[in-house]
């Protein structure tokens, strides 16, 4: 038993307490700084972009977005800088994948960063970002440019009756098929029937449990006349059409129209499987055209727009990217000038010719030079015009999850159609009631 209790442990205790206190104070300070206490700032309070400001713009404009795989963003920035003379535009890659880019964009918007003036946004992010008051209202700008934009692409930027982005380029699904093996699909039913006729005729699509499955599913559902949300925003997915489509897709897997392997495919594996020559049909985005041309299948494949559901109109789901102006941008005029440039019919032709992306300007599709580079431009235009945006809602990620998880459950056989539909409707309703 030590009689003289060493002073050291007490000293340590005191030191520890002080350190703890200092950390707590620092934490509290930081929290109060981050906590805000600012008044809610949503879509209602958002400022509007002035279409006229583009003419007098100057300075630098920074466009941020996903990795520039096709070179279109950097190319547009360079071309704009050259053409404009007063504004210099630069593109900064901030995400390696679409999901990562979204995280990076959200982080900057939440932190009120002034680093980026424009964001290249996936069409499904618009409602989310707009509802948070992160974007400038572009209704007037879109009105001013209305004549050169395909209406369905403009609808992808709509939230609460206002427009929050300008379409830059779009995307719509296409069916690639082997001319020598199968017929051009006039309807989904015909496609599946042809696909089931022989083992080498099968249909590959994106059936992995992710956003792509939502797209594949909705492409059929819309054509069958079904919807997820109606115009008032009510959940209407619990319908006969939904059950029909689910049963149809699930039967397709059972009777050999589609290989069970599609449950593991996103875009690239589906393309690679098709390239092996063992399949007859493929649903994929337009970018596959160029890649298929570089394979031995180049002479035997053809392109068709998405077929219609028997008795319904052809439909589809719009992909693509929009240009959204950050509410914290320090050069709004420059951003407007950039958008004006990017949506000019002339530049939209380059979008198609040089970067193989689907333009948002209708005239570009019939341009001779474009048709040379993209022989399927007519089919693509048909798909784009018939396509609809995905459900517009700030809780779109949750809605999409409700869809793709339950559709996957039906396809993989772990849930019945009835259960899945009920669950989808429940989950979407819950999501829409999110705080």
């Amino acid at each position: 038993m030590d009689l003289n209790r060493p002073a050291l442990p007490l000293q340590n205790k005191a030191r520890n307490r002080k350190a703890l206190a200092a950390t707590a104070i620092a934490a509290a300070l930081l929290l109060s700084a981050c906590g805000g206490g600012a008044a809610p700032q949503g879509a209602e309070q958002a400022a509007a972009a002035d279409p006229a400001s583009g003419a007098n713009a100057s300075g630098a404009v920074n466009i941020c977005g996903v990795k520039d795989a096709s070179g279109i963003y950097k190319g547009t920035a360079e071309a704009f800088t050259k053409a404009n003379g007063k504004v210099t535009a630069k593109y900064t890659e901030i995400g390696a994948t679409t999901d990562e880019a979204r995280t990076q964009i959200v982080q900057r918007l939440e932190g009120k960063s002034t680093e980026c003036d424009l964001f290249v946004t996936d069409v499904i992010w618009t409602s989310e970002f707009a509802s948070q008051g992160w974007l400038l209202d572009q209704t007037k700008l879109v009105e001013a440019n209305k004549d050169r934009l395909i209406p369905s692409t403009v609808e992808t930027t709509k939230y609460q009756d206002k427009y929050w982005g300008s379409p830059f380029f779009t995307n719509a699904g296409l069916i690639y098929y082997q001319k020598d093996k199968v017929a051009k699909p006039e309807s989904w039913q015909q496609l599946y029937a042809e696909a089931a006729k022989a083992p080498g005729n099968g249909y590959v699509y994106q059936g992995k449990q992710y956003e792509g499955l939502t797209v594949n599913f909705l492409e059929m559902l819309y054509s069958a006349g079904g919807e997820v949300l109606n115009d008032q925003g009510d959940v209407t997915i619990d319908s006969k059409e939904t059950r029909d489509v689910l049963n149809f897709m699930s039967d397709g897997l059972k009777n050999g129209s589609a290989d069970r392997a599609v449950l593991t495919y996103n875009e690239d594996p589906a393309r690679l499987a098709y390239e092996s020559g063992d399949f007859g049909y493929q649903r994929n985005w337009p970018h596959v055209y160029r890649l298929l041309n570089a394979t031995p299948l180049a002479s035997s494949f053809a392109v068709a727009p998405l077929p219609a559901w028997e008795g319904g109109k052809a439909s589809g789901v719009l992909g693509g990217w929009n240009l959204a102006i950050s509410a914290h941008s320090t050069n709004q005029a420059g951003a407007v000038a950039f958008i004006d440039f990017a949506t000019t019919p002339d530049w939209q032709k380059h979008v198609a010719m040089d970067y193989s992306q689907a333009p948002v300007n209708e005239a570009a599709y019939s341009d001779a030079a474009v048709l040379e580079k993209m022989p399927f431009a007519t089919e693509l235009l048909a798909s784009v015009k018939a396509a609809k945006p995905r459900p517009s809602s700030p809780v779109y990620p949750q809605i999409s999850q409700a869809i793709y998880k339950n559709v996957y459950a039906v396809l993989s056989g772990t849930a019945s159609t009835e259960e899945a539909v009920k669950k989808m409707a429940d989950e979407i309703t819950t999501a829409k009631a999110s705080f």
Binding site: C34, A69, A96, G111, D268, A273, S276, H287, A294
Partner: protein, 300 residues
Amino acid sequence: MSTLTAERPTPELATRAKAPKRRRLRGEAKLHPMVWVFVVAVMGFSLIPFYWLVNTSLKKGSSLSQGELFPSQPTLENYLVVFQNPEFLLALRNSVIIAVVTTTVALVFASFAAYALARLKMRRKAMILTLILSVTTFPAIAIAAPMFSIWREIGLYDTLLGLIIPKLTFALPLAIYTLTSFFKEIPRELEESAYMDGATPFTAFRKVILPLAVPGLATTAILVFISVWNEFLLAVTLTTSPEARPVPVAIAFFSGTSEFDQPLGTISAASVIITVPLVILVLLCQKRIVSGMTAGAVKG
């Protein structure tokens, strides 16, 4: 491969630390053939997926989709593309700096802490151990966003130092735990005799423990280096420009021809390339891992 008899080194402190390294064999004169079978199996198991990676890196274009075992037209083009990518080379430089600095500092700090935990009197060791463990257990994803904001505030965003500090923080627990466990194995008698010779605890640490703990130190160095080298989440959260990006993030930014493309050829080539520094590190360290303690000196 004959059995060596263990020498008895002298009990002098100075010479013990410099006792000649010798192979510690398990007394096998030759290896049973079953062992060789096992060796081959283990090598196969380790190598096959790696072989697949190399295989993919030698292919390009449409041959990437054929599942060929040997590339029919092997090409080094992917490697060329990768090496000619200035951002990748920058990222290599960044990764080397980050990993070397983090590993060195982690080893120093952790060996100090491990010695205190394993050997010295200290209060609340259990609490300290628990706190250390909780640092490494806390999901990085939950703190990535707060870190992003804080780092931007204090200006460490998009800097190498800004990456070294958190990586060091999350590497320390592994290092401390590993070294504590190994320091504990070293018999106390060695330090006792050092104290008898008038050494302070710190000197005992430097001259007795550290040399004997070389296997533990080498092991920890390899583990920390590799985990820092390959860490992705914090790296992608706290950097944005090629000047600060380490290699895993740079690889993620390799682009194919469209947003859906995964350029498997170049990704594979880059992944193979970045194992090279790790291989060099391991080759340098692997002897140290089994250099062994002259335990015979003590237990006899």
